[in-house]
Structures are given as C-alpha cells and as structure tokens.
Symmetry: C2
Subunit: 259 residues, 2 copies
DNA sequence: GGTCGGAACTAATCTGTGTTAGTCGCAAGA
DNA sequence: TCTTGCGACTAACACAGATTAGTTCCGACC
C-alpha cells in the first residue's frame, strides 16, 4: 500500500482505500536489476508495464557511432508508460542507472485497473500528461538553455520530483547520476558537465557529493534555471517540501543569477 | 467523415463506419485562425481539445529574454493532446504557424467518444504514444545530432508524417515553416539554418522553395539523418508513399552521407 | 591491504554554431 | 506605384562547448 507508485498517483488525485489496494495487488513480484543493465532493449515487444519501486533508470537511444542520449529519467514511482503494451516494438531502451527494484503490471491487469476505477483512470492520464510535460521541458533545455541553466534546471527538477514522493530530506535528496550520465541526459560531454558543476558549487548554489545533492540556495538556483514547477502538474500540494522559493520576478528579462 | 483526424487514427486501428461518424459528429464548428496568432496561451485553462484540420501550428515556450523553443509541430489531424482538459493550466502556448483551421471537441464529448468505442479509445492511446515518441526523438536530435543531421531528420519526419495522412505528393510535400521557425524548432539560429539548408541543397538531397519540400534523394537523406521511422508507430501501412528507402545499413558506424 | 576500473577532475587546443550586421527580394497594403 | 516589413541569404568575427589527453581519487573485489 505504501509504494512509490501510489504516492505518485496520490499527487494527482485522491485515491480511495479500494484504489490503493487494487494497485498494490496489481503489482507483480519485485525484481532486482543490477546497475548498468538494460531493463528493456530497443526492439523488444513490451508485454507489460514496468514500475520502478526503487533506484533510478533511464530511457535512452544510442547511435551506431556510440553517441547516446538519455531521453528521460525514471525515478521511484515512475512507470515505463501505462499504455506501452499497445506497441509492438520499443523504439528506445531502458537502462538501470543504479541497482533498481521493479514490479510489473500486465497489460490486461492495467486495463482492468482503469476500467474498474475512474479515479485510477484519471490518475494515469494525468501521469501521462505530466510525463509529456517533462519531456517538453527537456526539449526546451536542450534547445535553448545554456550549460549552466540546463544543469541547474535538471537539478531543480530532480529535487522536486523526489520531494513530491517523499524522497527528499528538506533541501537535499539522492542524486546517483554520474557525470557521464548527466552528460548523456543534457546533451553534453562529461568534461563540460564537470566544469559547469564546479561553477554551481563555486557560486554556493549546490553541494553534490557521494551521490547526494543539496540545494544550498534554492531561490537563486530556481531563478538561475528559470525553473517554474507548473509543468510538473502536481495538483495536490507536496511540492517544494520546505524549499519553495517565492514567485520568480517576471520582470527579470535575464536570469537574476550570473556567475 | 474524411477529415485528417480520421485519416490519422486510421493509421493506428481500423475504424468502423460508426466510429468515423461519431468522430465527425464530435468535431465542433471549424474556426479559422490567422498566421502568427496564438491559439492557446500559456496559463490558459484548457477546456476543450483542439484538432488541426488544416494548416500548421506549433507548441512553444518562450523565455522572458526572448529565447523561444518550438517544442512540437501540429500538422493536420494532430490534436493538442486528447486529455489536455484534465489540466488546470497550460504550461506552454500554441501558435498558428500558417493560417489554421481548427475544430474543438469538448472534454465531455471526448470522454463519451472513448467510453463508447474501444477502438477509438485504443486509437487515441496509440496517438498519445506516437506523440510521446516524436517528442523523445526531438530530444535526441537536440541533444546529440549535428546541425546537418538535425535538419535532415526533421525534414524526413515532416515528409513522412504528411505522407501518412495523404498530404504528400510522392517525394514532395508542403513545408511552410520559415527559417526562423526551423531555428526555433531545432534550437539554433536562422543564420545557421540557412547555412545548413544550403549544404543539403548543394549535396542534392532536398529542394525547398515556395513553401514546398522535395526529397531529391530520400535514401541518402534518411541515411544522413539516421532516420528510422519505427518511432512514428504507424501500424497500418501508409508510410513512405513511394519514397521508402531500403533498410539502412546497420553496419555503418558513421552516417553514410557526408558533405 | 593491494590493485583495478571507472568516475572526478584539469588543462590546452580546436571547432561548430552563435552573433552582429548587413543586402536583396518579394508580397501586402497604402 | 511606392513603401514597409519580413524572410532569404551572406560574411566576419566571437565564443560556448567539444576534443584530447591526461592525473587523481575512490570503492569494489581479490
């Protein structure tokens, strides 16, 4: 009953006890997957919906010449798309970025769940909308944000997404991505990620060590990243977990923070 | 009955006459919107689902300092998300990139449509999956593709998406985007778009004038872009419309085409 | 407790793309 | 017909970030 998927969906709608029971029953047995192992390969026929219970995973596409782009991150409570079983072939792969615990929900069960509960149906729809919005925000980052803004924005997003499901401890939270992982997510090289991270540290905005992130000055970080959490579409209030900066100044034609 | 939305959904599932009739009835009266006008503004409460019947629109986000990123393109038959009415606030705006004809489906009607027909329900779900896949592919383009590959890839995508709904004429199709539009979609400047376009022309790969695109050498263009149409997830066969190159050589560790 | 491999970090150099500042052509309106 | 404005196009120069080639650090495993 207290699994991250339930907590996640609770941020969109108020689930009844019956809903959470059904959800818990729907989850298959937990599976452990080691770090750096593909959970799903490109070209697979996706038979079931995978739910991340613990650890981080990432969707990615890789070119023949080795270039790789991580296209989204799956944190605890995230699913590899509630409708994925409708497709015949995965167009991308999913890798465990840390050791990961997964549960599966079969396509059949998923359809049952949604047809039995309007609330769950709505929750999954909202979840899909939120995922789409995150993907759009990544597109914006890769297209128009500088290295510094891009990294700052991602760190804001990851902190908030974790705070929402109770995984943040005030201004700090897990951040198990390596610098090469960050590079593949942000469309850069690990060398440049390192430089940019140093800049953020030197500016006193974040601390990041032993896989743990602390937002030292959330206000200035949000402002630098022009981070507007609206896009995460959490309707019920969990956001920020004590780290909600005041409204950004809309008059600022440039990020308020420079380094 | 022969509207682009129907044609689009037909690429995913086989719709019955009853389905297409219901769809046609669901569409509200057509609305004309002039080029460069916002169809939906950021912050709006989305009451209904907009469907593009004619013309091109684009989702975008704009920063206070003027930087703009077009996050996706809406072609005829595309909807601004079948579930959008669940949200309270648009996190991005939608602009008419050409004069556009729209129809609306209210949230209520949309829910009716889907609850009355399993097939329509599945069609809309598949449509959402395809849209998500396109968004991921854009993320890959912005993150890891060079200017040349990026532009080539987008042109392939736009040609194929139009071919699918019967808007392409063999290897050529409408392409009403201006170079500044392309720049905002590809995360670049119009100056560089122009340079890159000249390169593609000089290589004899495409012709683009008076808002019309012709793929002069689709095989080499697909190969340059490493374009793999799987991600569009059209299960029924409309793709290519006579311009389907043979399978790309998976052994090629580098794009086969250089300039 | 050593060694091994990958992640963190640094520095020098290179380059793809941005910036700035134009010209030209064309289509819409006055 | 003349203007106006925007899109297509070009050139010179600047710079953010890539590339290459390391060294150091740390944790996992023998």
């Amino acid at each position: 009953m207290d699994n991250p998927l339930t907590r996640k969906l609770q941020t969109y709608v108020r689930l009844t006890g019956a809903d959470t029971d059904r959800l818990a029953d729907a989850l298959g047995p937990a599976r452990r997957i080691g770090a750096r192992i593909d959970i799903v390969a490109e070209g697979d026929d996706p038979r079931a919906v995978n739910v991340v219970l613990d650890g981080w995973a990432g969707r990615y596409k890789q070119f023949a010449d080795g270039r790789r782009q991580i296209v989204s991150l799956l944190l605890p409570g995230d699913t590899c798309d509630p409708n994925i079983f409708l497709l015949e072939r995965m167009d991308h792969a999913i890798i465990a970025l840390t050791p990961v615990t997964l549960a599966q929900i079969s396509g059949r069960t998923m359809q049952d769940l949604r047809s039995r509960s309007e609330t769950l149906e709505e929750a999954f729809h909202r979840e899909m909308l939120a995922v789409a919005a995150i993907q759009r925000e990544w597109t914006v980052s890769l297209g128009r944000r500088s290295a510094l803004e891009r990294l700052a924005h991602l760190l804001c997003e990851l902190h908030l997404r974790q705070a929402t499901i109770g995984l943040a401890d005030g201004p700090s939270c897990p951040m198990p991505l390596t610098q090469p992982d960050l590079a593949d997510a942000l469309g850069q090289t690990s060398v440049h990620i390192n430089r940019t991270l140093q800049d953020l540290r030197r500016a006193g905005l974040v601390a990041l060590r032993s896989r743990r992130l602390t937002l030292l000055d959330p206000d200035r970080l949000w402002s630098l990243a022009q981070f507007d959490p609206t896009y995460l579409h959490h309707t019920r209030d969990h956001a920020g977990a004590g780290v909600r900066p005041r409204e950004a100044d809309p008059a600022a034609a440039r990020p308020a923070v420079r380094l």
